[in-house]
């Protein structure tokens, strides 16, 4: 018998795994739930933002609504509103009975029309069908029989049942007629009704507009709309998607208040009773409405300006792109204007009508040029003149080749024609050859124009530093090595950076410069009076660009050098020549021969030693010469006496005796020359200075056009990389730390911003701890910038990126806006903004000059140019910019405002730059070009009498302030001569000016309120001369026409009538230049 089969102890079967399964199940379920939760919430932090926004914004709107209702009530209580409301009610009341009556008629007519229409449409359909049948019937008999049917039908009587129960019979034609009549009647009644309602609606609109205009915020109804929108909000991703530009920005999923039509601040969106938190800060409105209006977010998105990762929604950090795998992190708040550079690389000046958006980036762009950064670093768009010059020269070459080719081809054609078999072919070939020759004449014209342009461009080329070929004529020899040691020791505000040169380098460089400099002698200049010179220096215009005095004593502009110690470094004779005309060169330079051309070259060819814009070709080879100093400094058209006075004053500006500088005999040591040359090349001195032998030297620095998008690992922080990542500061010097825009580092600064800021604060910082040979060390000199300047430059550099946006997003207009871009380039180049205001509130250098603080000196400020393009005739402006004296003989004066001590200088603009400036002013004032002057009707004899009586009346004392050309009178004048008006001004502007000058040039001496509005025209506000009796036209227009037709004789006549002090009487002796300008105490 077989033993029952008992299974062995089987661990797999007997052991329970329930516990493990349970754990696994729990884990699985838990991870499922976690995954689901994470999917729904963890990865979607914006949901929380939206919920919080809904709650807080709702609460905000609620209070805003009650405030708005309150404000609405207040406005409604205003007598003006009540008047409008009453007018609206009255209009409605008055119109109501008629409206009701017409409404009744309309209703009745409509009902009758409907009754007729019901019958008529049916019958018309039958008739139309029959007509079609007749038209398509082939046989004449068939046509006739159908026509008979139709006639019969039309003769039938149809019954119309009207709504009032009456019935009437019509045949078809009558029916049609009745239908049309009723329709016209209805249209007429509707028109009447509209006419009646018009005044009612107008009055209501007036009332409602008044309310809207006088409510600071939205109306309660508008707020109610927002409340509803907020309450009904479904949580969802908010996204801007511009496929053409590859923009997907989901920023508004959290930043929900950014485009709301009410002003949201962190405080207004804080939790109830709490402080503004991260939510409140995220919900605020965009800080600048005007910016958003110009850059519609639906087209531009957010990230093209702000950067960050627009697609990311999983966390704030990801969204802002603040992680290492994202190359375009959000711009820091301090550098937010970097974003402008993405599209506005071509603009030198960015500004809005109001507010100060654009100031930082514009300052950065300006500094890059002003501090000579582009002397070493190429940056696209900063070499306009040299690049244009190269371009033009290439074009000339091409054109010349084209001419050659045409000539060859013409010769071939002519030859073929000579040997042609028949006359027709010969004539055709001759004609072709002739066409080529004519084409060449056209090309010759083109080349001529290009030559002019190339000459202009040569003239427009400037260098930021002075010409070092002149050091022997200009400088105190012993001063040079002292200066090179550390320029800021001598002049703390200099543009020249500190190069960290060692003694050997300083010796070698000064020796080279001294030995290659021109040795020509300057004529001895006359001496002047330093006291008079000081007054002239402070009042003639020098301080528009230059400053004088150090520390709190400093006054003037920061565009050009501070002259506090200029007397220690400069020779008097050179100073005299320079002040008289800084463009004068000791020798001209021939770029072709690469040589300075002197008297001996001219003598060789029996030519007088003369070079200027009229004599600008090389005596040796006819090539175009460099005849001007490459400085932007203009000439103030000073008399020799004035020049001597100013030079005598400046030469006294010293803190120590020039003779006390240690003797630098080594500068004559010829052995040092080669060494000096090496170092000049090494440090790239020729980027900013003209140096003999270095005229065609290239740049030594990195190109910075797209420096902001250089991969981080290619920015070499050397030994500081780790410290930067750890957020440790590496600068220890207190003075240098103060240059960091946000102070010493407290967090990770291993990014572009941190690299740039540290580099600009201390350019050799990344050499620290490194063992390097002298030639291997970082060459960038210390530009000794302050923290605002560093912030501006860093903002500019951060924005200097390659962009993925399509070209159409780049702001590169070709119309009048281009004129504005071109103009700003020139305006900043010559520092026009040092003296003139171009936008309201823009500071000028004169605002910190002490003399000009006196209210009596208010009239002495250079004119504001806020509406210059609308004010002046562009043709006149062209002439004025070429010759601001407006005279060929009497040049020591201001052409327009002889009463100003500050003189508008002569800048020797090239024709091209002048034209660009004129177009700039026109564009800035939105004036179309070319300009068509308005023709003013000639005054009749009676009108002349009237205008004259007004012009000379005690109530309109125009000539009291306006200059007349009479010396005694003009001593107290504070406004231009009227005789200039015709050529200079635009009549329409003049009319607006005499009406309200304060809104054209705020603060002007010309008062407002001379005219007042009377009905649809302006009349004189004071007592009107009797000649005006019965005159019902615009008084301003009459006066403007008179002024535009004023002749010198007429002006003399009328000024005699004004009862002024007779010209011969010596009212007061000539006052020194610095006394109170208006001639009174």
């Amino acid at each position: 018998m077989a033993e029952p089969l008992t299974p062995d102890h089987d661990p797999i079967v007997t052991r329970s795994y329930a516990l493990y399964y349970l754990i696994a199940i729990v884990l699985l379920v838990a991870s499922l739930f976690w995954a689901l939760w994470d999917e729904a919430y963890g990865q979607r932090p914006w949901k929380k933002y939206q919920a919080v926004f809904q709650e807080r914004y709702g609460a905000f709107l609620k209070s805003a609504r009650s405030q708005s209702a309150q404000a609405e009530k207040e406005v409604q209580g205003n007598p003006e509103y009540r008047k409008l409301a009453e007018a609206a009610d009255a209009a409605e009341k008055q119109a109501t009975p008629t409206i009701k009556k017409i409404g009744g008629q309309l209703k009745e007519v409509s009902a009758r029309l409907l009754a007729v229409q019901n019958v008529f449409t049916d019958k018309r359909a039958w008739v139309n069908a029959k007509v079609y049948e007749i038209e398509t019937e082939d046989s004449a008999r068939g046509k006739q029989s159908k026509q008979r049917d139709l006639d019969k039908y039309k003769a039938q009587q149809f019954t119309v049942k009207f709504p009032d129960g009456s019935r009437k019979n019509f045949n078809f034609d009558q029916l049609e007629e009745e239908y049309n009549r009723l329709r016209e009647e209805k249209a007429r009644l509707n028109a009447d009704l509209g006419e009646l309602l018009k005044p009612v609606n107008e009055a209501k609109t007036k009332r409602d507009d008044y309310l809207k205009e006088h409510l600071v915020s939205l109306t309660p109804e508008q707020i109610a709309g927002l409340q509803k929108k907020t309450a009904d909000w479904d949580t969802k991703i908010v996204q801007i998607n511009v496929a053409s530009a590859n923009i997907v920005d989901r920023c508004e999923s959290c930043h929900m208040g950014i485009r709301e039509p009410v002003r949201l601040t962190p405080a207004s969106l804080a939790a109830k009773g709490g402080k503004p938190d991260e939510y409140a800060r995220a919900f605020v409105s965009h800080p600048d409405e005007e910016l958003l209006q110009i850059h519609d977010p639906d087209k531009f998105g957010c990230s093209p300006c702000h950067q960050g990762n627009g697609r990311a929604t999983t966390s704030v950090t990801k969204g802002h792109g603040d992680y290492e795998h994202w190359l375009w992190p959000l711009f820091a708040r301090q550098n937010v204007e970097s974003g402008c550079q993405t599209c506005h690389a071509a603009d030198m000046m960015l500004h809005l009508t109001t507010g100060n958006v654009g100031q930082v980036i514009s300052e950065g762009k300006f500094l890059f040029r002003q501090r000579g950064c582009n002397g070493c670093h190429k940056y696209e768009g900063y070499d306009r003149e040299p690049e244009d010059l190269l371009n033009v020269q290439q074009q000339i070459k091409q054109k010349e080749e084209e001419q050659q080719g045409n000539l060859r081809r013409a010769a071939v054609l002519t030859k073929q024609a000579d040997n042609a078999t028949d006359n027709a072919t010969a004539n055709r070939l001759y004609a072709e050859a002739e066409a080529l020759k004519v084409a060449n004449s056209r090309i010759a014209g083109q080349i001529e124009q290009l030559d002019f342009r190339s000459r202009d461009l040569l003239r427009d080329l400037k260098k930021i530093g002075p010409d070092l070929k002149e050091v022997r004529t200009k400088l105190n020899k012993n001063w040079i090595p002292v200066w090179l040691h550390k320029p800021t020791d001598f002049r703390p505000t200099t543009k020249m950076p500190n190069f960290r040169l060692n003694d050997e380098q300083i010796k070698a460089i000064s020796a080279f410069l001294w030995q290659v400099a021109l040795t020509d002698k300057l004529p001895t200049a006359p001496k002047g009076d330093a006291t008079r010179g000081k007054e002239l220096f402070e009042t003639r215009g020098c301080l528009g660009c230059h400053s004088i005095g150090e520390g709190p004593e400093m006054q003037g502009g920061d565009f050009a050098a501070n002259l506090t110690r200029v007397g220690e470094k400069v020779n008097y004779d050179y100073l005299f020549r320079w002040i008289k005309n800084p463009r004068v060169r000791t020798r001209s330079y021939c770029p072709y021969e690469k040589k300075d051309i002197g008297p001996e070259d001219y003598a060789k060819h029996n030519l007088p030693y003369q070079f200027d814009f009229e004599h600008s070709t090389c005596p040796n080879d006819g090539h175009e010469l460099q005849v001007e100093q490459m400085t932007v400094m203009p000439s103030l058209r000073l008399s020799d006496e004035e020049v001597a006075d100013i030079a005598s004053y400046l030469i006294t500006q010293r803190q120590k005796d020039p003779a006390s500088y240690p003797e630098a005999a080594f500068m004559d040591d010829p052995k040092l020359k080669e060494e000096g040359k090496k170092w000049i090349r090494h440090f790239g001195c020729a980027g900013c200075h003209e140096i003999a032998g270095f005229e065609d030297e290239g740049r030594i620095g990195t190109e910075l056009t797209v420096e902001g998008s250089k991969p981080l690992e290619r920015l070499d922080l050397a030994l500081h990389t780790q410290k930067a990542q750890e957020g440790k500061e590496v600068i220890t010097d207190k003075a240098i730390l103060a240059r960091l825009p946000e102070g010493p580092a407290t967090s990770d600064w291993y990014n572009h911003k941190g690299f740039f800021e540290h580099k600009l604060a201390m350019p050799n910082i990344y050499d620290q701890g490194m063992m390097k040979a002298e030639t291997e060390k970082l060459r960038m000199p210390d530009p000794h910038l302050n923290k605002d300047q560093i912030q501006a430059l860093v903002t500019f550099l951060l924005g200097s990126q390659e962009t993925s946006l399509p070209a159409s997003y780049q702001y590169k207009p070709e119309d009048w806006r281009r004129d504005i871009q071109d103009g700003w380039w020139i305006v900043r180049k010559y520092n026009c903004v040092g003296c003139h205001q171009f936008t309201p509130g823009q500071p000028t250098s004169w605002q910190n000059v002490r003399r000009f603080q006196d209210p009596d000196w208010k009239e002495q400020f250079p004119p504001k140019l806020l509406t210059e393009g609308a004010r002046v005739d562009p043709e006149w402006l062209m002439r004025f910019l070429a010759n601001p004296a407006l005279s060929q003989t009497d040049t020591h004066r201001n052409g327009v405002r002889p009463y100003l001590k500050i003189r508008m200088p002569t800048f020797f603009f090239s024709d091209m730059e002048r034209r660009k400036l004129v177009r700039f002013f026109q564009a800035l004032s939105q004036q179309p070009m070319p300009y068509t002057p308005e023709r003013l009707p000639t005054l009749t004899a009676k009108e002349t009498d009237m205008a004259r009586s007004l012009f000379t009346s005690a109530a309109a004392p125009c000539l009291k302030c306006h200059a007349t050309g009479d010396a005694a009178h003009d001593k107290t004048a504070t406004a231009p001569n009227f005789l200039m008006a015709k050529d200079r001004l635009k009549p329409g502007w003049t009319e607006r000016w005499i009406t309200d000058p304060q809104s054209i040039s705020p603060g002007t001496s010309m008062p407002s309120g001379l005219f007042r509005k009377d009905g649809d025209h302006y009349v004189f506000a004071g007592p009107t001369p009797s000649a005006f009796a019965g005159y019902d036209k615009d008084h301003r227009q009459l006066l403007v026409r008179y002024i535009f037709q004023l002749t010198p004789e007429e002006q003399r006549r009328v000024s005699g009538r004004m009862g002024r002090a007779p010209a011969g009487k010596k009212a007061s002796s000539r006052k020194p230049a610095g006394s109170t300008p208006a001639g009174v105490q």
Binding site: A955, C961, P1007, P1023
Partner: protein, 263 residues
């Protein structure tokens, strides 16, 4: 994951949640938002306790002689006229603007309804120094037979420049912000100058020929009193007054000095 499945599993999840947690309470109705930064409680002055500060402004040194003004450029400007910059008699300095610069805390003051007058007569301004409360109307009259223009050059207020015909209708203006002193001139008669002191409180005065000033109706407290002269600048002094006090506070301006100085 298939969208349907995702929705289904979500549904399950939601059901579980609803079952587990029950209905979430609706957020409590937000009470009407807090009032906009409640205005500081305005303290009223008790007329029974008010004090007076008065004094004399002296001039130390030789005053520059007033100069004759040549008004021949406008025949309508009749009479004699001389500069009013430094007017000293017996060592007393006139035309000094004295006001309470600091120390009034939360007191609120009504702006007087009646305007202050500025007259142009004989091509000079009357008075030469004018005090006005911020927001108070200045009425400008022209009694001359010539056109004037009134052109203040403020730093913190809005600048304007308006023409007023001979014996024209009065012009009314006001200044919104405190500013001491605003120079005013007529561009057509450049010697015509005056100064306006605009103050937020009613405690200001201009010294007369006797150099005296008086600030009445001050509540007890400690104040900075400033005396401002168009040429010699500002001097500040601190004074403490108890209820019904009558304190004297003198100022002295030194010839040649501008700005700093004091007793």
């Amino acid at each position: 994951m298939n969208k349907k499945m995702y929705v289904a599993s979500l549904l399950v999840l939601v059901l579980l949640f609803v079952a587990g947690c029950g209905k979430k309470e609706a957020p409590p109705e937000q009470a009407t938002a807090k009032p906009e930064a409640a205005a500081a409680p305005a303290t009223k002055i008790d007329p029974a306790t008010v004090a007076t500060v008065s004094g004399t402004v002296k001039f130390d040194g030789t005053a520059p002689k007033p100069q004759k003004i040549d008004m021949s450029q406008d025949p309508a400007c009749k009479g004699a006229n001389e500069t009013e910059t430094v007017e000293v008699s017996n060592g007393d300095l006139a035309n000094v603007f004295v006001y309470v610069k600091d120390g009034l805390g939360n007191y609120a003051f009504d702006v007087p309804k009646e305007p202050v007058r500025l007259d142009q007569q004989g091509c000079r301004y009357h008075p030469h120094v004018l005090g006005v409360m911020a927001g108070q109307t200045v009425q400008i009259n022209n009694d001359d037979n010539t056109t004037h223009n009134i052109h203040p050059s403020p730093k913190d207020n809005r600048e304007w420049n308006e023409s007023q015909p001979p014996k024209g209708a009065p012009i009314t203006k006001d200044f919104a912000r405190q500013e001491v002193l605003i120079p005013v001139k007529c561009n057509q008669h450049p010697w015509m100058k005056m100064y306006i002191g605009v103050v937020k409180n009613p405690f200001f005065a201009v010294t007369g020929k006797d150099g005296k000033y008086e600030l009445k109706g001050l509540p007890p407290g400690t104040y900075t009193i400033a005396a401002v002269h168009e040429k010699y600048g500002e001097q500040d002094q601190t004074v403490t007054v108890a209820a019904k006090d009558s304190k004297s506070q003198n100022f002295t301006f030194k010839a040649g000095a501008g700005g700093a100085g004091g007793q």
